[in-house]
C-alpha cells in the first residue's frame, strides 16, 4: 500500500503556508496541494492596491517562486477543484473524478465574492477576489476616465474606490451604512475616512441598489453593457463600470458531509480541527478562540498564515499520536508533539490613499467603541473596541509603527475597559 498523503485544499495564502508548515513540523510523507485557480499561490491584499493601481505586475504577487516550492516535494494540483470529502475515511473527491484517500486534510478554500443576480449577464460588472478579477477590472480602468460605481462601502469597496479615484476616474461609493467601513473600524474612524474620501473627490451615498440597467446602444452580438444603477429610492446613477464589493461567502459548498458544521465557514474546535484528521485554516475557518470564548472567523491576511501554521502543527501532532496508538496500542509514549489551541492576537491592515489602518484584536462585534482623534487633518486617530466591559480590540489610523506595536500589547488578552483606555492613552502620547 502506498502511504496516504496529507492533502491541503486551497492553494493560496493559507494553503501554501500549511504545506510549508507541515514539512517543518516533520511530515515526510506525500503531500498534495490542490487549488482550483490556474496560478501559483499569490497574495490577495495587493489586488485592490498596487495591482489595481498598475504599480505592480502579477509576478510581484507570487507568494513563493517555483524554486521555493520545489524543495517542498509537493504534488501540486493547480486547476483542480475538490468536490467532496468523506470525513470518516478522509477521502477527497476531485473534479477530474479522482478519489484521494488521505492521512489528513487541511481545508483552506477561503471565501468567494458575493454577487447580485440582478447584474448577471451585464458586461462591465466586476467583483474583486481573484487575480483574474483584478486584471479584468484594471484593464477597464486603463485608458481614459470612466464612471465607476462601487456597490458596498466595506474595506474592499473603500480601497478600490481610493485607487480608482487616484487613477482619475469618477467614483461613486454606495453602501447601506451611512458611514463607510463602520463594521470594521467603528463610527469615529469611519467618519474620518469618509471625510478623506470626500476630500479626494469620491461621492459617498447611502442606499440600496434596486436594479442594473443596460446601456442603450449595445453593440450587435455583444453582451449588453452596464449603463447605470437604479437605487431603491428611484434615483439613477450612470455607470460605465460597476464593482460589487458586497462581502463574501465561505467556500464550503463542496463540503456536504453531515459530520461537518458549515453554517458560517467550517466550524472547528480550539485546535482548528473540524473532525478527526480534518483541519481548517484561513478565511474559511471558524474556530473557538480560547481567550474570547466565542467562535471567530477572520478574513484577514495575517490570520491565514498564522492559522495555517497552527493547523499544520496540530494535524501532524494528531497523526503522530494516531500512528503511535496503532503501533503500541496505547497512544501514549515519550516525545510526542502536543496539539496546541490556536490563540492569536488577530491583526489586519488596510491602505487608502496614504493612510494606513492597522488593528489588533477584535473590532467587529464590539458593543463599545471609543475613538480618539489625535490630529484631525492628518486623520491620525485610535479607537478602542470593547465587549461585555472588556477591551478586546484597538485600531489605529496613520500612527507610527512603535505606537502600534505598543497598542498590540494592550489587547493581546481581553482587559478591563478602564485599564485599556489608560494604556492606549500612554501608548499614543509616548514619543
Amino acid at each position: 500500500m502506498t502511504a496516504r498523503p496529507i492533502a491541503v485544499v486551497g492553494a493560496s495564502a493559507a494553503g501554501i503556508t500549511a504545506a510549508e508548515a507541515l514539512r517543518r513540523a516533520g511530515w515526510e510523507g506525500p503531500l498534495t496541494l490542490i487549488g482550483d485557480e490556474p496560478h501559483l499561490p499569490y497574495d490577495r491584499p495587493p489586488l485592490s492596491k498596487q495591482l489595481l493601481h498598475g504599480a505592480w505586475e502579477p509576478e510581484r504577487l507570487l507568494l513563493r517562486s517555483k524554486e521555493q516550492i520545489d524543495p517542498l516535494g509537493l504534488e501540486l494540483r493547480l486547476g483542480t477543484r475538490a468536490t467532496g470529502l468523506d470525513v470518516a475515511t478522509r477521502t477527497l473527491t476531485l473534479d477530474d473524478g479522482e478519489r484521494l484517500a488521505c492521512a489528513g486534510v487541511i481545508i483552506a478554500t477561503g471565501v468567494a465574492a458575493r454577487t447580485l443576480p440582478a447584474a448577471d449577464g451585464l458586461a462591465g460588472v466586476f467583483t474583486l477576489r481573484t487575480l483574474d478579477d483584478a486584471l479584468a477590472l484594471r484593464d477597464r480602468l486603463s485608458g481614459g476616465a470612466r464612471r465607476l460605481v462601487v456597490v458596498g462601502n466595506g474595506v474592499l469597496g473603500c480601497e478600490a474606490a481610493a485607487v480608482a479615484r487616484e487613477l482619475g476616474h469618477d467614483v461613486t461609493l454606495i453602501g447601506r451604512q451611512p458611514v463607510p467601513m463602520v463594521a470594521a473600524v467603528g463610527p469615529g474612524i469611519g467618519e474620518l475616512l469618509a471625510e478623506e474620501h470626500t476630500a479626494r473627490g469620491v461621492r459617498l451615498l447611502t442606499g440600496e441598489v434596486a436594479e442594473f440597467e443596460a446601456a442603450s446602444d449595445p453593440a450587435p452580438g455583444a453582451p449588453a453593457q452596464i449603463g447605470g444603477v437604479r437605487l431603491a429610492d428611484g434615483s439613477r446613477l450612470p455607470a460605465d463600470l460597476v464593482l460589487l464589493a458586497i462581502g463574501s461567502e465561505p467556500a464550503v459548498g463542496w463540503l456536504a458531509d453531515p459530520a461537518l458544521d458549515t453554517t458560517d465557514g467550517l466550524g472547528c474546535d480550539a485546535y482548528c480541527a473540524a473532525a478527526p484528521g480534518i483541519y481548517a485554516a484561513g478565511d474559511v475557518a471558524r474556530w473557538e478562540h480560547p481567550l474570547h470564548g466565542r467562535p471567530l472567523r477572520f478574513e484577514h491576511r495575517m490570520n491565514a498564515t498564522e492559522q495555517a501554521m497552527a493547523a499544520a502543527r496540530n494535524l501532524v501532532a494528531e497523526l503522530t499520536a494516531e500512528r503511535a496508538a496503532e503501533d503500541d496500542g496505547t497512544g501514549e509514549g515519550a516525545e510526542r508533539p502536543e496539539r496546541r489551541p490556536f490563540a492569536p492576537v488577530p491583526y489586519f491592515w488596510s491602505d487608502q490613499y496614504g493612510l494606513k489602518l492597522q488593528a489588533y484584536g477584535l473590532t467587529a462585534g464590539a458593543d463599545q467603541v471609543e475613538t480618539t482623534v489625535l490630529e484631525h487633518d492628518a486623520r491620525r486617530a485610535v479607537a478602542l473596541f470593547g465587549r461585555d466591559g472588556l477591551a478586546v480590540g484597538v485600531l489605529a489610523c496613520a500612527l507610527p509603527p512603535r505606537q502600534i506595536r505598543a497598542l498590540r500589547a494592550v489587547v493581546a488578552t481581553p482587559v478591563p475597559w478602564e485599564e485599556a483606555r489608560e494604556r492606549v492613552r500612554e501608548a499614543t502620547t509616548a514619543g
Partner: protein, 64 residues
C-alpha cells in the same frame, strides 16, 4: 543563513519585529521593515524562519 528582503512589498505589519527583534526593525516614518542583520548568528535562526513564514506580505527570504 542569509536573509534578503523585498522592502517595497512590506505592509508594515511588524510581525517580524515581534518574532525576531534582534534581526528586524521598522522605519519610524512608515513602518517598513529594516534588516538589522542579514547574516544572523545560529541562535536567531529559528526566530528568523518563523518571521519569514509569518510575514503576511512574503517580504523575507531566507537562504540556508
Amino acid at each position: 543563513m542569509k536573509i534578503t528582503i523585498d522592502a517595497e512589498k512590506c505592509c508594515a505589519a511588524g510581525q517580524c519585529v515581534l518574532v525576531a527583534p534582534e534581526v528586524f526593525d521598522q522605519r519610524d516614518e512608515d513602518g517598513v521593515v529594516v534588516l538589522l542583520d542579514a547574516e544572523p548568528p545560529a541562535e536567531q535562526h529559528d526566530a528568523v524562519r518563523e518571521a519569514a513564514a509569518i510575514c503576511p506580505a512574503a517580504v523575507i527570504e531566507v537562504q540556508e
